[in-house]
Symmetry: C2
Subunit: 423 residues, 2 copies
């Protein structure tokens, strides 16, 4: 297989004809395959049905079916404290999704500021650092609150810290979103050096907050997972105890939308958040918290459960990666990272070819994450990044979808090399 | 039983001595009784345990255990649409509590305005009308967002509409909180005339919104409940289609904190709210929505279920009312309303005696709702209103608690009449 970039025009045209034939055959199958979102597959959801068998909702003599307990039941706070390696007093249990925890926290900063600082709504300009490619729903929250997003490129070790450290000299830069383990979409785990640099930053803004979205904290695909340095061990060494708000959830452990979320932060931040929470709710779903404790028992229980997820996900990731290697390897038109956990594979194609790849996939019945969504404002400056979500389709469908994706990438890149693209 | 107000000093002193003896006897019992919050009793919670038997979470071929369906599953939207007598497209299903629906809506008005209006955070002053006595958690939301609360007295038909109609001439008055059926705490259901006047108002503020907290929409205590005129029938007659945001929940039907909430509004308001919701969450708990549909089946199912609650609550309400009548009737020191539904009995004692009553109760082991909480900023200008929540204590405990309350009221009023109060 030779590189497209070194082929003659005639060779490219011949390759294109062969690919077009394959593409048309796929298209004729009238498929409807979805690789757009990080949805668990049905077999993954089936793993947690025993969660629902809980029938007794009393803890320490308290009837969990009734009102009360704002920050979550003690047993479940302990479970998440153990998972995130913090103390229970640093844990707040949240609603059914960590997305709401993050949205509500930014909303709170917007209307009330951070631990007594000026509300961000009262400032002429508020900016956030966004490592790219990143998670579209983080960007949506920031855009909603009119917070200017500044992209910082990801490296194989995490965000480009030289760029981050330069940006935080600006007092209007108020924070940063991070997915530190198995980042969305690249599956990169921040290195110890990067976590240490993040934890020791000295931002000009005293109300600077890092949203540490540890969505894939225990979502390994292989027996030996990546190890993330605990940022809460770094922060106190630099007087940064209050700089990080960590969140996670059981969305991809049990049931997305019917799980529970948790937030870990300093006691000062927890108190600041509780002031709002005390106006917003009486409690989140304690019965569901109890169900999760009964089901998992402890962190070892979570780990054992996640191994079952891994057994289902691993072949899916490997199948997609194999197709990428076989079809795109050595062509010099695409690169990708092999993740050891998380929910995505990030594929970078030749500049200017991602959108066209998405169109070709769509016409052949394969839905990808909207191309561009991995960048703030939906604008990928190079038009090169594609997020692949292999979890939802059954293996047989995924096999087809991955092939269609590869053929689409190749067609798009040949069009580009031949100067055929209209845009 | 003669009126305290016409007794001589000697008669009052004799009465006080007798009461003090009873009070000391109660105090010596070392009780711990709670009439502070509208918590259902254990026997009420037991009514809904079959809700948890649901094992199959598929609807119209969609796996409800996975991500998706922002505004709620169709079957559950229909259930609430039927309950609130609107169309399913006017329904949004929410999180585990309508309190969060209300908080989040006011937060949205604060940060983004109402259907494109200026965000309330950008205005020099925003005011809200609060019928009093009212629900403390409404007041807490408004106070959090620095919205000035203007009290309007309740009449037996609802808020004093002359006062309301005068206030809405002020463009900075942006809305009103109402509990239109079995109001909290008085249990008053707004009359047709009041609902009609509310629905036909012409506020100066184009972004005026009424939060119609129909928390007790189907919470009758007697077979024949109060009938509330449907405000959504009134609004269109006056071009006010967008003026009302209605909320309700299953908190006092199934499990408080583990139920579901719903919001009913015009399609324009629903679209406005969905813009925010789309950034805040992927969906609320669809599995719980499904459980509620399976459990209730339809509105008739809800009605039948609520009759079981009524059978438990009715004797509790009647017991408290009987004690009030027997102990306080004819004394000219207190008045109360006999509600036909809801969760509270509102007791008005002689001016300046409510706080002292609360203190006496507390010393004798009976917790009441914090006195003053039924008014904005916790300030009852007359220091006269006490909210009684009879639902939680078992009947035998309630019997004692009600007696202690009555004795405390009498002692507090005698102290006042004798000029003994220190404050």
């Amino acid at each position: 297989m030779s590189a497209y970039t070194t082929m003659t025009r005639e060779e490219l045209l011949a390759e294109k004809t062969a690919l077009q034939e394959r593409y048309d055959a796929y298209k004729a199958m009238g498929l409807k395959l979805d690789m757009s979102r990080g949805k668990p597959g049905k077999d993954q959801l089936d793993l947690s049905m025993a969660l629902l068998d809980d029938t007794d909702y009393v803890e320490d003599g308290i009837d969990l079916r009734n009102y009360g307990i704002l920050d979550g039941i003690p047993s479940c706070k302990k479970l998440f404290a153990d998972l995130l390696e913090v103390e229970p007093e640093n844990i707040l249990l949240g609603p059914n999704a960590s997305l709401s925890l993050m949205f509500d926290y930014i909303a709170q900063c917007y209307s009330h500021g951070v631990c007594g600082s000026t509300p961000w709504s009262k400032l002429p300009k508020v900016k956030f650092i966004c490592p790219v490619p990143g998670y579209d729903r983080h960007f949506t929250i920031l855009e909603y609150f009119n917070i200017e997003m500044i992209s910082v490129p990801m490296t194989m070790e995490g965000p480009d810290m030289d760029a981050v450290e330069a940006l935080i000299q600006d007092e209007s830069v108020k924070g940063m979103f991070c997915v530190p383990k198995y980042s969305n979409p690249q599956g990169i785990t921040y290195s110890d050096a990067v976590v240490t640099r993040i934890g020791s930053m000295k931002p000009a803004a005293k109300d600077f907050r890092i949203i540490w979205d540890n969505a894939y904290c225990i979502h390994e695909i292989y027996d030996e997972g990546d190890r993330l340095l605990d940022i809460f061990d770094v922060l106190p060494l630099h007087g940064n105890d209050d700089m990080v708000i960590e969140v996670c959830s059981t969305s991809k452990m049990t049931f997305p939308g019917a799980g529970i979320s948790a937030l870990a932060a300093s006691e000062r931040n927890i108190a600041d958040i509780k002031k709002r929470l005390n106006c917003q709710t009486i409690s989140y779903d304690k019965m569901n918290q109890h169900r999760h404790v009964r089901f998992f028992k402890d962190v070892e229980g979570i780990k054992a459960h996640m191994k079952k997820h891994a057994a289902i996900l691993r072949p899916k990731f490997e199948m997609v990666l194999e197709h990428l290697e076989n079809e795109l390897g050595g062509k010099e038109i695409a690169s990708w990272i092999k993740p050891r956990g998380g929910y995505f594979i990030s594929l970078d194609v030749m500049n200017g070819c991602a959108k066209r790849t998405g169109e070709l996939c769509k016409e052949a019945g394969v839905t990808l994450t909207t191309v561009g969504a991995t960048y703030p404002y939906g604008l990928d400056p190079n038009d090169s990044n594609i997020r692949i979500a292999p979890s939802l389709p059954p293996v047989a469908e995924l096999d087809l979808a991955a092939q269609i994706l590869c053929v689409s990438v190749k067609l798009a890149c040949i069009e580009k090399l031949l100067g055929e693209q209209t845009a």
